[in-house]
């Protein structure tokens, strides 16, 4: 206990009396923190932009067309498939989901959005936080994501114009905003929700598609009576409903085109930044220990134990790292305040938390070699011998 108290005393005194030097390293750590947190936030933001709607679905299983490789865009189910699924024992609810993308005429510039359709009261339609749900049929009504409202300026009661390519020519449709929902990005775009009939009318279509007015769902979100029975229900659906394949939510998310590759890229960037941090901190403390060899020799010669010397080095590293991560976290927060909502940064995700923990660990890991080196310094170095 006394050794730890002496180690803390030495560490604090050295950091305080050499605060300029240590602050410089803390600032380097702060910059690394800024970079890592931004990468983590960007990763989380991009992931959210891609998967948010799917991961927030109130369902346990997703039904796709057979051989679509659980790719939402590649899947187009028959209209009666949803009825067949609802008849399967253990299915509490099933909601068809129709996906497309389009462009709305916003205040400043056109805004690309994901145009989704779902049935009110069924899985697939997120909760409405303001206003009401659209009417079924070709009601010309839409529920929009808050992000659409923020970026376009549309509010409940407004009429928005949708530009949609119909068989090679651009046509304009008008949808009345009747409700707001939140956190529903899909395919990097904020979403608007309509009824299936409205969706079929306003979605961009090829000339061939125009010949058929029937909306075909891409996928069906399935809510189970017992959410724990995912695997057995998956088998049951496959057995009882023809021409489908079934996946759980995580599998569906990973199959979103580009999702895994994008996350892999961002995570690799984060890991490499952390590695650079380890090297920078390791290098600094190693140089510092090399400069302090005679001084550590004196400390040991006059009776400081290896534990005291080692603990002092570790405490110093922890102090410098914690200050650096603290400054970096603060800087990241300040910078994030100035970023527009179009940049997908999410700081409250688990990846940000993971990044902070990793950043707090890089100091001790980077300084490990120098700590071992310090512990191994012979007290004879205090004398001229050796």
């Amino acid at each position: 206990m006394r050794a730890l108290s002496i180690a803390t005393y030495l560490a604090l005194k050295e950091v305080w009396r050499g605060r300029g030097r240590f602050l410089l390293v803390s600032l380097v750590i702060a910059l690394i923190t800024l970079l890592v947190l931004f990468i983590a936030a960007l990763g989380e933001g991009l992931a959210n932009g891609n998967r948010q709607y799917v991961s927030n679905l109130n369902a346990q299983l997703i039904v796709f067309l057979q051989k679509s490789d659980t790719n939402i865009s590649s899947s187009q189910l028959q209209v009666d498939t949803v009825r067949q699924i609802r008849r399967v024992d253990g299915v509490a609810a099933a909601g068809p989901i129709y996906t497309s993308s389009t462009e709305i005429e916003a205040n400043k510039s056109p805004l690309k959005v994901s145009l989704l359709a779902a049935e009110p009261g069924q899985p697939g339609l997120p909760p409405v936080i303001a206003g009401r749900v659209f009417h079924t049929g070709d009601s010309g009504e839409a529920v929009i994501d808050q992000n659409v409202a923020l970026r376009s300026g549309f509010q409940v009661g407004d009429e928005m114009t949708i530009r949609s390519t119909q068989g090679g020519t651009d046509e304009f449709f008008y949808l009345r905003v009747v409700g707001l929902t939140s956190n529903q990005s899909y395919f990097f775009q904020p979403t608007i929700f309509t009824s299936a009939a409205t969706w079929e009318k306003v979605r961009p279509q090829s000339a061939a598609d125009l010949k058929d007015d029937t909306p075909y769902p891409n996928i069906i979100a399935v809510q189970l009576a017992d959410p724990k029975q995912i695997q057995s229900m998956e088998m049951q659906l496959l057995t009882k409903v023809p021409n489908i394949e079934v996946a759980d939510i995580p599998t569906t998310i990973n199959a979103i085109p580009g999702y895994s590759a994008q996350q892999g890229t961002v995570q690799t960037q984060g890991v490499f930044t952390l590695l650079i941090g380890v090297l920078v901190i390791g290098g600094f403390f190693q140089i510092q220990i090399l400069q302090k060899v005679p001084q550590i020799g004196v400390l040991k010669a006059i009776g400081s134990s290896n534990g005291t010397v080692g603990a002092s080095a570790v405490i110093q590293i922890i102090i410098v790292t914690a200050i650096g991560v603290g400054i970096g976290g603060g800087l990241t927060y300040l910078f994030s305040l100035g970023f527009p909502p179009t940049i997908p940064l999410v700081f409250n995700g688990t990846s940000s938390l993971f990044a902070v923990v990793a950043l707090l660990l890089i100091g001790p890991i980077g300084g490990l070699v120098s700590v071992i080196y310090a512990v191994r310094i012979e007290p004879l170095k205090a004398l001229r011998l050796q």
Binding site: E14, P294, Q295, V298, A301, S305, L380, A382
Partner: protein
């Protein structure tokens, strides 16, 4: 009769140099009493620093025995040797003597802190000792803000503050000019005598011997001469030996 604080019996330290054994310390025996200040002199390579390192429990001997305050060094484990260095030995070194980020007072108090005896009374003792060494206006100064002589005086205070049995000094005047060197050794000797410690100073500067009680001369690892009388010591200090 003063008690024997340090006893060296037939001490040998052998190094292997180019495949051949070399006795850096070669069958050395002597004793130092409390209140006695001894100089260990000799040319470079004579084995005096090796001997000092063994006495400081920093290096283990090949054979022979060292007793400090009645404790046999060869019977001690590493942690006991660390404890011995902390509690029963005081050090001053040639350079890099002080902890650079502690003030003069903190450097001295550090020995008390290590021994768990830092209290109000001992803090006052540290201040008084530094004042005694003429450093009353330097208590809050960092080593870098002090001259070489002032730093050595702080080191002397640090070496004595915890009441060690033995005080070891390795070339304490090597980085000082002649006048300051004499002042430092004179002060050191006075404190050794006053506090009844056993002091050993390694030096290559024979002029510094005029303040010691006995001089041990080494050559090629052996003790080759011992000057005990004032006349012998002063003659040696004048370079007449």
């Amino acid at each position: 009769m003063k008690e024997i604080v340090l006893e060296v019996r037939d001490l040998v330290k052998t190094f292997i140099l180019d495949g051949a054994p070399l006795n850096a310390v070669d069958h050395v025996s002597f004793q130092v009493h409390s209140g006695e200040f001894v100089a260990l002199v000799g040319p470079s390579g004579s084995g005096k620093t090796t001997l000092l390192s063994i006495l400081a429990a920093l290096l283990t001997q090949s054979s022979g025995e060292v007793f400090i305050d009645g404790q046999q060094l060869s019977a001690m484990g590493e942690s006991e040797r660390v404890k011995l260095r902390r509690s029963r030995i005081g050090f001053t070194f040639q350079s890099n003597n002080l902890i650079p980020y502690l003030t003069a007072q903190e450097n001295v108090e550090f020995m008390l802190r290590l021994n768990g005896t830092l209290g109000k009374v001992n803090r006052l003792r540290a201040e008084e000792l530094l004042a005694r060494l003429g450093l009353e206006d330097r208590l809050r100064s960092l080593p870098a803000q002090m001259s070489g002589g002032q730093q050595q005086r702080v080191a002397i205070a640090r070496a004595l503050i915890h009441n060690p049995a033995v005080v070891l000094a390795d070339e304490p005047t090597a980085s000082l000019d002649t006048e300051r060197a004499f002042q430092v050794v004179q002060t050191f000797a006075a404190l050794i005598h006053e506090n009844q410690r056993a002091g050993i100073m390694v030096t290559h500067d024979l002029r510094m011997c005029k303040y010691v009680d006995r001089v041990l001369q080494m050559r090629d690892g052996k003790l080759v001469n011992e000057c005990k009388t004032r006349i012998e010591i002063e003659a040696l200090a004048r370079g007449e030996h």
